[in-house]
Symmetry: C2
Subunit: 390 residues, 2 copies
Amino acid sequence: MAKKKRSRSESSSGTPAAVLTPRDKKTINTLITLADEIVEAADKKKDPHLDIPARTLTNVKYNNTARIIEMGKGTNRRQLFNLTQAKAYMQTLLVAEGTKRLLDQGKTTSIRGLYYLLKHTIEGTKEETFDDQADCDPIIEDLEVTLTTLREELHVYASNRGAMVGPLTLTDSGDEIDCSRMGSGGYSIPSIVEADVIQFGSHRAEFILHVEKDTVWRRFNEDKFWRKHNCILIHGGGQPPRGVRRLLSRMHNELTYRGQKLPVFCLLDNDPWGYYIYSVLKQGSINLAYESKRMAIPDARYIGLRSKDFEECKLTPSVQIRLNEQDIKRAKQIAGYPWFAKKKEWQREIKQMLDNGFKLEVESLISKDISYVTETYVPERLKAQDWLGD
Amino acid sequence: MAKKKRSRSESSSGTPAAVLTPRDKKTINTLITLADEIVEAADKKKDPHLDIPARTLTNVKYNNTARIIEMGKGTNRRQLFNLTQAKAYMQTLLVAEGTKRLLDQGKTTSIRGLYYLLKHTIEGTKEETFDDQADCDPIIEDLEVTLTTLREELHVYASNRGAMVGPLTLTDSGDEIDCSRMGSGGYSIPSIVEADVIQFGSHRAEFILHVEKDTVWRRFNEDKFWRKHNCILIHGGGQPPRGVRRLLSRMHNELTYRGQKLPVFCLLDNDPWGYYIYSVLKQGSINLAYESKRMAIPDARYIGLRSKDFEECKLTPSVQIRLNEQDIKRAKQIAGYPWFAKKKEWQREIKQMLDNGFKLEVESLISKDISYVTETYVPERLKAQDWLGD
């Protein structure tokens, strides 16, 4: 496999080759470079190997300047001529070859699709290339970190979840989308939202409101909150998938209001899970630390629910949900995350939840009034600038 | 609470009352009738009670003419002056009152929202109206069957999942949607798709292709299958939620091609779960039998994967997934469903899967070629009219 300059790739199956985007060309080149290094090693009679950045807690650190979680420089060597590493080595090359094929054909697939694309019995043996999906998934992540490329760039996508409405137009795969006229379901956020797929048009938004669940999103959409408050309203169906995180990050960084980056407010549950979602949105996740740079939003603000809200909003005790052992353990873990550990207000917030002994869902505000959250809670907090996280 | 003719409802909270749709008015009237009957009983010094249709297997039957699952006439009486029934009785009225409030305000909520709306400590006691969500959900279903109304008509919605593309325009909540220009994510199907929310515009579709998973849907969308074959492409993210089922049923019954109802083809996995999804789409589900009339599509066709496909498509043994005990049990159960029990071709289909000893996912076709399913499998089956289920 030699490096070539070209804008059309050759298809092995004889079907017309795909037109490659500049991003695709770049990704293909990193894959070719990987292959070339192996050929080179073989030519020099050296043992072929791959140095794969370690995706472990010890190889992850918080960058105080960038305010995101980053991977360290630790790597693990994966060798072909090593009985315990040979299979993983070959699997890694197999995944690399499969993603190159996808890129060449201009097609994308899911991790399930890639697994089926590569799964076969190795000729002359009874050995399967992959025994099951769980065998393939970490190899995909290995390749991502090794090439410092996103799986979306390798044409492998995650599930798409999440929707968006607001005063924003965009182009998605050539279709012009007016996010203020998308019906009750909103614009469905795809998994791949890079600039060659989605281009932003004009917008009149003053901020972005991210809510945790589609049911809460629906309340805000039904009450036309985004019209009254000129904002983009988005949800990620729980823990936001990569597409939603990347889109949030792109909108925050590429769209402006009064010359500033478009602020992002997160309306999440007052529980360890809500804190965790905020933490991932803000500084990235430990498991996918290599993606933080493109996905984390260090300036994201947490606008609720808060541990003080049971008293401040005069909620009925009926809405309290007792913390279980797992919750308490998770809360303490999160309080120890580098960014949170340094913020007095967050230490207070988490401590107060533990003292309360209960958690609160955003939906608990319905006990006040079905539209309390859209008509009172969020508008008042915005006006009072009462949020956490700057 | 007396019956009144009105098109605006009074709001208890002093906020402007909502404009009611004809459907809302009808639903409110059934709720008022329910309440009136209780007042009447009380006036006559009779014990108030509700007769709730039984949602049990024994009260469900297959209607050979309509070819759908229907509820029988069995009911369970729920009385106020009965120690074991009093709480459920009051919960039922509480849910009825809550949904009336939603209708009056012109607002909708999730089952979680309704739970929070109604959850409180009963004055002067330590008793909660509902201990948890699981306490509230069956009461919502009770009310649905008692009033023969859908939860969506009571302004309570399920989660929205599922997307659609194709040569079809529609109006959703006043927004005109062109389903052929919705970007890579497609039109996001809301939970409530009744005629006052969604009105169909023009279409050029010849059939509807329903696929099980969003990942498969994406393959079809990326390959522009719906353009080449003039069809509406839809998925329900696994077991299709109520919104998707109802929309499929509406499109099948309200849109035509060459004077016939728009045919529905289902591309599902060759496993008991795929068979079950087909069965629910076709004849309704046992648990929600009272909804069959509005959701089931007796003419829906099963276009794959089939038990014969391992050989017919010459697939590699690597893609076989061994049936487990649960699969075998489920397959035998489904073979016994009234409709399936009478169809020789389905008995053969299920028997062959059991004989094979393995199941096949639609994605297994990727082992042939990434676009085999869109370019070969489905087109060939359509041309040969090789499907199950007429």
